[in-house]
């Protein structure tokens, strides 16, 4: 009987784990909610991956690839899935979590207007054929994703009216200097800088409001400037999708899954890789994914050869977190009548009198809608320091039909 290795998430980390696990005779299943492998970074398929990583897409035929499938929960040996064919259970001997991350959105006046989208969100929609040529775009928030997406959209003909980064210039320069010794990242930074040579780039600056009739038409910055636009893309960093790890009882620290050098979590036979263990982008994801795939299939020798790269990737991840820490002024953006929970339209004023996340849920329905706190949870953690106290089955909103198993 061959070993059942199940990998959740077909982004860079999950694909890398599948590739290294497939060097053994294990029985591998790769699960993803999207229609196409690649995750967010390589959304749209292998054409979007750097050449050195394209081989990771190659083995899709030799493993069980389950697309458009949501993992609703997990127990010690089973996953509970919502698939296009209905609910299913899947047994695992080794489980590799590669759930990736979502964007952190902070509420400000006008952020619920149509065409105010995430930075990665706009990138995803454009890869999904949203026409962007000739459109005026403001990109705001924090993190390297801002310039990466700005340069990509510009290449597709978008008019980038401004890139607005909340970090002070000294901090940004320190981050730049920390890339010395990391040639891939240096080259990437240089390419972005060149692509955005004539694009207004504001540091130490942030959005204070979005305005418009029916959709966003202009944005206001804290320096008093107003900029007209067709799209406002904003996000303030990334939050790891730790729900499944939490349900399995994996130990978390500061919202990331704790792993050892083998990518092993605190739970037996459960590994976590990529953004789940700390935001670090595709290189960290691929290295950690490969290590977990090797270790899960007993190939310790191959895994140990990646230790140095793993250490470098983790160091970059820590620099990233320190360099793009959010400033306290961003807590003042939301006004009393600003919606914080978009699913249930709960305003800041309604939440200010609540002592905790649980109380807010019970009293105001904050976090009780379709996103199940995936958006407002990050915002209220930043605004009020609230944390979620439990993650229950099912971890995604599903229809009753997705829960009802036919009995045999």
């Amino acid at each position: 009987m061959s070993l059942n290795v199940v990998i959740v998430g077909a982004g860079p980390a999950g694909l890398a784990a599948a590739w290294s696990a497939s060097q053994s005779n294990a029985n591998i299943t790769l699960i993803d909610q999207a229609a196409q492998a690649g995750g967010q970074i390589w959304r749209g398929g292998q054409g979007y991956a750097p050449k050195r990583y394209r081989h990771l897409f190659g083995q899709q035929t030799t493993l069980h690839y389950r697309k458009q499938t949501h993992v609703l929960g997990a127990s010690e040996q089973q996953l509970y899935l919502a698939t296009p064919q209905g609910p299913q259970q899947l047994r695992y001997d080794r489980l590799i979590l590669a759930n990736g991350a979502r964007e952190l959105f902070l509420p400000f006046p006008g952020w619920t207007l149509p065409k105010v989208v995430g930075v990665g969100g706009l990138q995803a929609l454009v890869k999904g054929s949203l026409p962007i040529a000739g459109k005026r775009v403001v990109i705001a928030g924090s993190g390297p994703l801002l310039i990466a997406v700005a340069s990509q959209l510009k290449q597709r003909g978008a008019i980038i009216k401004a890139v607005v980064e909340q970090v002070p210039i000294a901090q940004l320069l320190r981050f730049g200097r920390s890339l010395v010794g990391n040639p891939t990242k240096m080259l990437q930074a240089a390419q972005f800088a060149q692509a955005l040579a004539n694009t207004p780039f504001y540091v130490n600056t942030w959005i204070t409001a979005a305005e418009g009739e029916g959709e966003v038409q202009q944005v206001q910055l804290n320096n008093g400037q107003r900029i007209e636009c067709d799209y406002l893309a904003c996000s303030w960093g990334l939050i790891a999708n730790t729900e499944l790890a939490q349900q399995l009882g994996c130990r978390l620290e500061q919202n990331f899954v704790v792993v050892d050098r083998s990518q092993h979590t605190s739970r037996d036979q459960v590994y976590a890789v990529g953004e789940l263990t700390g935001i670090g982008g595709e290189d960290k994801a691929v290295i950690e994914g490969q290590i977990a795939g090797f270790v899960a299939t007993g190939n310790y020798q191959a895994a140990s050869q990646l230790a140095q790269q793993q250490a470098q990737a983790r160091q970059f991840s820590q620099q990233l977190a320190a360099s793009f820490a959010l400033r306290p002024e961003l807590r003042q953006l939301a006004q009393a009548n600003t919606i914080v929970c978009r699913c249930e339209d709960v305003t800041l004023a309604q939440l200010q009198s609540q002592p905790s996340w649980r109380s807010a849920k019970l009293q105001t329905r904050c976090g009780m809608g379709i996103c199940q706190g995936r958006v407002c949870g990050g915002a209220t953690q930043y605004l009020f320091g609230w944390s979620q106290d439990s993650v229950r089955f099912p971890i995604h909103s599903v229809s009753v039909a997705d829960l009802v198993m036919e009995s045999v």
Binding site: G120, Q123, L125, V375
Partner: protein, 80 residues
């Protein structure tokens, strides 16, 4: 690229096959849903987390448009 026809709120549109449904609705400035207080909403996260892009497809409610590709004959209904 192959063009296909889909219907949105009863009107027929010609779109490129496999384009992302949330992207199509945003480009045509058609709100996906109404919030509980009546605000029009469109996709935000683009990756299946926020749920703002949910629509009814072929009479099946609460489908996330950002995770779906357009296919011929698709009937999309947004909350009025």
């Amino acid at each position: 690229m192959k063009q296909i026809r889909i219907s949105i709120n009863g009107t027929e549109y010609q779109v490129t096959e496999h384009s992302n449904l949330a992207a199509v609705l945003m480009d045509k400035a058609i709100a996906n849903r109404r919030s509980v207080t009546g605000e029009p909403r469109m996709a935000v996260c683009g990756m299946g987390s926020c749920g703002e892009c949910r629509v009814t497809i072929n009479q099946q409610a609460h489908q996330l448009a950002c995770l779906l590709q357009c296919c011929d004959g698709m009937e999309v209904d947004c909350e009025p």
